[in-house]
């Protein structure tokens, strides 16, 4: 991989993504080990098509699959960008802590389009992570209507919701949350264990996902043998391996130094642009939020502003 005028270029000269840095900066050289190249990304997409045959594609998934980067039709791309992948109406969430009943979210209304890279910002306790958890289907709203990828997830049973998560959402956490005794490839394989994929198919997907994050050569390493940034890349590979529609990231750079954080943000940006994953990222870091295509601010459980901006 090479970087020319801030653009990632593959060995054949094809455009891979843009980073707002000059090629001679220290960060650019630090990015080299990531090795995100087109030939590694491309096999990832067809490798996942068999998996998606196992789950009935929702309308949003159908849009997503018709809008891969290889699709030359700009009309389809526009359609993707205008379809609401996530729709929240009047979402209320309350917690009971001891004798205290705390309302965390106060009637949130929000639409997130397919292919967006959304940054959720706000002070601690503002409800960012709660909102992310609701969208990711690992928590349930007390009131309101929540549609993700065409599915009214509040109406799903626990079992259906688990299955829905397996097929539709990838999670990235601040502290990586990898299984300490499993290797990188075994960690990445976890979401595929509940599918009907054969061992060969699972292996192909895991290989593609690890290649995508530039860690194919570390497949047999355990988390303790990897740096923080590498662990987070393994976590991103795990989030991507089932080819989900949506990626939810809870402070993915919160535990990393600036250089590592930039690598992870570069990777997320490329996953958003080249793999067309819709990404919702909770962050405290304004620099990280700048990479998103839209920023939202939450305070005391209410959305303050909706600001659209494209990453440089």
């Amino acid at each position: 991989m090479a970087m020319t005028d801030g653009r990632f270029v593959g060995p054949d000269g094809q455009y891979l993504g843009t980073v707002n840095l000059s090629g001679s900066s220290p960060l650019a050289s630090a990015l080299e080990p990531v090795k995100i190249t087109a030939p590694r990304i491309r096999p990832f997409i067809p490798a996942h098509r068999p998996f998606n045959m196992n789950c009935p594609p929702s309308a949003a998934r159908a849009v997503y699959f018709s809008c891969k980067s290889t699709d030359p039709n700009p009309a389809i791309k526009r359609q993707r960008m205008t379809t609401a992948l996530v729709s929240l109406k009047g979402i209320v969430k309350r917690y009971v802590r001891g004798k205290q009943r705390v309302q965390v979210l106060h009637g949130i209304d929000l639409e997130i389009r397919a292919g967006e890279f959304l940054a959720l910002m706000g002070p601690s306790g503002s409800g960012k992570t709660t909102l992310l958890n609701l969208i990711g289907g690992i928590d349930r709203a007390d009131e309101g209507d929540l549609l993700v990828a065409g599915e009214r997830i509040n109406a799903l049973s626990a079992r259906q919701l688990a299955r829905w998560r397996a097929h539709n959402v990838g999670f990235v956490f601040q502290f990586y949350n990898l299984m300490p005794l499993l290797t990188a490839q075994q960690n990445v394989e976890l979401p595929l264990l509940m599918t009907n994929l054969s061992k060969r198919q699972r292996g192909a997907n895991v290989k593609a996902a690890l290649e995508l994050v530039g860690l194919a050569d570390r497949a047999t390493h355990k988390p303790a043998e990897l740096s923080g940034g590498q662990q987070q890349r393994v976590a991103i590979a795990r989030a991507l391996v089932a080819d989900p529609t949506l990626l939810v990231c809870d402070e993915p750079t919160g535990d990393l130094d600036r250089e590592m954080a930039e690598q992870i943000l570069d990777l997320l940006q490329i996953v958003n642009r080249e793999q067309h994953k819709t990404i919702i990222m909770v962050t405290h870091d304004p620099k990280a939020a700048e990479r998103a295509t839209r920023q939202l601010h939450l305070d005391k459980g209410r959305l303050l502003q909706a600001e659209s901006s494209l990453a440089a």
Partner: protein
């Protein structure tokens, strides 16, 4: 199989704890295998009993000798078809571990009384011609690679008149027994030769074996025999074969009760030990289980994983323990307790116990894992 790496890594998360737990289970099931194996071996005694046979022994103790002269009086009791005496010795061949039991008896009468013991007629005839002859159980012949015509020196518990405890016999025949393991390490010698040569207790017998015409009259015949010797110096008690064998075992105490009590105590302790290990293991892995649920594992899948982990731990360790018991069991047989192989039934019951133990100790942590709320677990609440 695809879950195996996940299960295996969970088991070995804390190596030392897992090793100690496995060792506890291995030792517990080694003990289970040995005790229940001996128990089963003892329970098998008397199962092939012949209802036609009665045993006359001293009322004081089964090891108290009775005068030989009793045999003629017993023979005269109506309903008795045939009888003989048993005396004998315990001893070993070359090494102390090569134990065997010698029965001194009227060999011809013996084979009439025990028709299930098979011998070639010419070998039986040879025995009557050779006073120092011996008829040996076929398994013993194979074990020591003896053949007919061999002279076998035995160190015994019975002293000869010359002051030596070493006896020489010449093998003249081989007998086969249908199944009972206890009869596989015996040799039969001529009572007349044995009684004449021994220093002590001459003219006595350990017991008399009696065959009756009609087994339904056994109770009356037993009473009639015992009535002959009431108020004598050597009172008798006459029993059928099964009662006689069980009586011999009772001299060792209620082995079955002791074995069951020990095994129950060990398994009960083990239940808490494994349950505690599993609970600790699941508690430590709360965030990891939450991640499994996050990436799409259902509550039921996580529950089943924890249960399988418990089953793997218990059943694998129990299998090792039972394998060790099977390896050690023949050694106990050499000491005169237990058979040559651990009964399959004991192994099957052991594995079933391990499964029950695994499910009982795995259920509380599995239940905890099932009820785990993802967001709380991830937040460390």
């Amino acid at each position: 199989m695809k879950f195996l790496p996940l299960l295996w890594s969970s088991l070995w998360r804390k190596k030392a704890r897992t090793i100690f737990t496995v060792l506890s289970i291995v030792i517990a099931f080694l003990l289970f295998g040995l005790l229940q194996g001996i128990n089963a071996w003892m329970s098998a005694f008397g199962t092939g009993s012949n209802a036609n046979r009665l045993y006359v022994v001293s009322r004081v103790s089964q090891v108290q000798p009775l005068p030989n002269a009793y045999l003629h009086q017993i023979d005269a009791v109506p309903g008795i078809k045939q009888s003989t005496y048993i005396a004998g010795f315990t001893g070993f061949y070359q090494e102390k571990s090569n134990t065997l039991v010698g029965f001194a008896t009227d060999v011809k009468a013996w084979f009439d009384l025990y028709p299930e013991w098979q011998i070639a007629p010419e070998q039986l005839a040879a025995m009557s011609r050779n006073r120092a002859g011996a008829i040996v159980a076929a398994p013993l012949m194979r074990a020591f690679r003896w053949k007919i015509g061999d002279r076998i020196p035995l160190r015994t518990s019975v002293m000869k008149r010359d002051g030596s405890a070493d006896w020489d016999f010449e093998i003249v025949g081989i007998y086969d027994v249908p199944s009972t393991q206890a009869e596989a390490n015996r040799i039969l010698v001529n009572y007349a030769y044995f009684d004449e040569a021994r220093l002590l207790e001459r003219g006595t017998a350990w017991a008399f074996v009696v065959a009756v015409d009609d087994p339904t009259r056994s109770a009356q015949i037993c009473a009639a025999v015992d009535a002959l010797f009431v108020n004598s110096a050597y009172e008798t008690v006459t029993q059928d074969e099964k009662a006689y064998v069980q009586g011999q075992l009772r001299q060792l105490g209620d082995v079955s009760l002791m074995a069951n009590a020990i095994v129950a105590a060990v398994l009960f302790t083990l239940l808490f030990l494994t349950g505690n290990t599993m609970m600790q293991s699941v508690r430590e892995r709360t965030p990891e289980l939450a991640i499994l649920k996050t990436v799409g594992f259902s509550d039921r899948a996580v529950t089943v994983l924890v249960l399988i982990e418990s089953v793997l731990l218990c059943v694998l360790a129990a299998s090792l323990g039972l394998a060790a018991a099977a390896a050690v069991f023949p050694v106990t047989a050499a000491l005169g307790i237990g058979g040559s192989a651990l009964p399959i039934k004991v192994v099957a019951v052991g594995l079933a116990m391990a499964l029950i133990l695994a499910l009982a100790s795995g259920l509380p942590p599995a239940w905890r894992a099932q009820r785990l709320v993802i967001v709380d677990a991830l937040a460390g609440r």
